[in-house]
Each structure stands twice: as structure tokens, then as C-alpha cells.
Symmetry: C2
Subunit: 231 residues, 2 copies
């Protein structure tokens, strides 16, 4: 069933508000008010906030699976690698409320406790195929255990990136956060870097030369390192 | 001030209960009952559960900083590398309740919002010195940006490891979880692996030969990959 135009607008507006203010700070009344519709009109399409979140999660999952498709009828190229990187980072940024609050969402919604592992499994298995594809055409050199470990590390780093930024004190609110979220791309590049070969290797070495040090570390180096004792 | 014997016993018992049942499921009454002391006796030493958690966090922080000390008066060796690995994994396991619930702890306790970034900074800066030490003696080969990126990736993977296991459906409760938590060691080995040289490289290649595939991936491969649509 194709979502109606109002349904689409509700999702878009909810996503923007959740990202900007955090999911917990936004009620269905906020969403209706922002859209200039009555709460009753909103409830006609989504019975409650959990239904809106579920619909956004479905959208996120579908888009993520789509960007991880393998090209049909041709081998993977080093442009595909850049494309995967950019698409995944864009997904991280566009649905950052999901990553920022995933622990809370899973606790608040038993359905997510079932959906999330399935989604994780789906993405990681597809990642395995993609990396094997890059190995097959000589753009990377990895053993199967190295592929597995890389995918698990990538998954943990990417899905926890926003949380890391908040918890390590780099991110205070949503303003000016975009460049920090995009730094996830930098971490991905370094995770893959050692395994790149051929044309991918050349691109990596150019990137390394241009990137220099990380802003994150510069900030860390300026923060205090002593904690007062509680006794 | 040296903690009294009762204080020490309260911390040990609380840590065991928090790890086994999760911090939220354990009250100060549970702790007192497990110890066979009155709640009043417990409150004499710690006014509430938050004070117990804060004392455990201090202990965790101090122990972690201690295991990351550099040897005095000699260069780092490849045995030090193994030692750091084992000590950090032991810390992850011994204080797993902190990692499992750190998002909740930080939300519930404004003090942690200040302490945690300082702790993160302290550990990551010390990690930078250690890795530079390994580079200096030729056991690793990394540029400073590669060291920074590796430390950030290690931090995120290790501190989110237990959470990853729960959220991806690998861990249901605390029973039989020890071997899964120790798999964090495996992820660390793969993160560092590409940069190892000399004697460290030889140890890594022996490890790779012995390790084979990951249990985690085998489990993922058996889980369902279809999610029912909500519409």
C-alpha cells in the first residue's frame, strides 16, 4: 500500500524533529503542530509515536539494504567502494536519532528487540558479500576471518558513532554536528585501509595525505585528565 | 582513606550482583540481604545505590589507568602487548555492568556526564603513548593519524562490545556470557593486526591460523533475515 501524502509528510517532519531534538523530547502533539494538522488527523495515520518510529525504522532498514545492493551483471569497482561509504554515512546522518537513542528505543519497544538483530544480521551478511566481491576483483586482500572481524568492527563503530560523540563530550546538541557525524567516514576509511590493494590503495594513500590529524583527538588533548576522588 | 572491610565487601558483592542481574534490577536491600547485613549498616557506608556505583566506577577507572601504565626504565616488548590485551579484556569482563548500561548510567547520573569524557580522554591519550612506544621499537608501523583512528575504533568497539552482543541477539542473560565477552579480544587483535611488525607480526599470524571463523558470524548466518512489513 502506497503511503498517502499526509503519511509521508508526517514521517518527514517526525524524522526532522526527532533528529533535531531527540526522540524523547518530541510528542505526537509537537509533530501535528509543526505540520499544521490536528492531533486527530495524525492519529488517523499513526495511532501513536511508537508507530511513527516503527515506520521510520522500516524506511531506514529498507533504504540501508537498498544502498548495499551489489551491481548486477558487472564486477565491483573502486567507485562502488566510495559510493557505499558515502551512502552509509548519509544514512547515519539522516537517521541519527535512531543511532543516538537505539538503546532506549529497544528497551521501550519489545518489537525492536526482535527486529534489530534481524536487521543487523541482514546488513552484516550483505557486507560479507560485498567485501568478498572486492577481494575477488583484487581491490582488497583479506581472509574470510578478517572480513568477518572487519564487518563486526565497522558495524559497532558506525552504529555507535553518534553515541560516542555525545558520551565523549564532543557533541552537546544537534547544531553543528554534521561534520562530526561525517567523521564516521574517516573511521571507516582507516578500518578498511590496511586491506586495500591496487586502485583502492592509491585512493586511500591520497586520502591519508590530505586528511592529517583528527579534530576529535585535538579536542581530547585539550580536555582535563584528572578526576576528583569521591572519598 | 582506606576503605573498611565492610566497605570493600559491599563493593565486591554489589559488583557481582550488578554484573549478574544488571544494575537496574538490584536494590540496596538486595545487596544488604546478600551480605547478611542490615540496610542501615549499608547506608552507613554508602548513602544510596548511586554512591555504590560511583565507588565502583572510581575503582574501575583507577584499575584501567593502572593496567595502561608504561614500563619504567625499559622499552615496550611484544609480551607487553599481550599483557595489555589480557588486562583490558579482564577489565571489560569484571565490570561488564558498566558497559552494558553506560547509556542509562550517564542519563541517570549527571556526575557521570562529566566524569565519563574525562576518563575516555585519559585512556585514549595513554593509548596514544603506548602505540607510539610500539612504533618506536619497531613492533608496529603506523602514522600518527593511523594511531588516532585505531584508538578511537578500539575504544568504541571495546566499550560497546557487551551492548553489541545484547542488541544483536547473541547474549540473552549473564549465564555463559564469558566466552562471548572474551571475543572482544579477537576484535582487538584484528584491529591491530595489519599494523604489527617483527615479533608481534609472527604472533599475530600464529593467532590467525589458530582462530578460524568467528562463532558470532556462524550465529548470524543462522538467524532469519526477513522482517515482516508493518503495513
Amino acid at each position: 500500500m502506497k503511503a498517502s501524502k499526509t503519511k509521508e509528510r508526517i514521517l518527514q517532519t517526525s524524522l526532522a524533529l526527532f533528529n533535531e531534538k531527540g526522540e524523547r523530547a518530541v510528542t505526537t502533539n509537537h509533530i501535528a503542530s509543526e505540520l499544521g494538522i490536528s492531533p486527530g488527523n495524525l492519529y488517523y495515520h499513526y495511532r501513536n509515536k511508537q508507530e511513527v518510529i516503527r515506520a521510520l525504522f522500516d524506511q531506514y532498514r529498507q533504504e540501508t539494504v537498498d544502498v548495499l545492493n551489489m551491481p548486477e551483471g558487472r564486477d565491483l569497482t573502486s567507485s562502488d567502494k566510495i559510493q557505499y561509504f558515502q551512502s552509509l554515512s548519509k544514512q547515519l546522518w539522516s537517521y541519527r536519532f535512531l543511532h543516538r537513542d537505539i538503546h532506549h528505543l529497544i528497551e521501550a519497544n519489545p518489537e525492536f528487540q526482535k527486529l534489530y538483530p534481524i536487521f543487523a544480521s541482514q546488513v552484516m551478511k550483505q557486507g560479507q558479500k560485498i567485501y568478498q566481491g572486492f577481494v575477488d576483483v583484487g581491490l582488497m586482500e583479506m581472509t574470510p576471518p578478517e572480513i568477518e572481524a572487519l564487518i563486526i568492527n565497522l558495524w559497532i563503530v558506525l552504529t555507535n558513532w553518534s553515541n560516542f560523540l555525545y558520551m565523549s563530550g564532543h557533541l552537546k546538541d544537534d547544531k553543528d554536528s554534521e561534520h562530526l557525524v561525517w567523521q564516521a567516514l574517516r573511521q571507516m576509511v582507516f578500518l578498511e585501509g590496511p586491506y586495500l590493494r591496487g586502485e583502492s590503495r592509491e585512493t586511500y594513500e591520497q586520502l591519508l595525505g590530505n586528511m592529517g590529524g583528527s579534530n576529535l583527538f585535538a579536542v581530547l588533548s585539550n580536555s582535563p585528565t584528572k578526576i576528583a576522588d569521591s572519598d
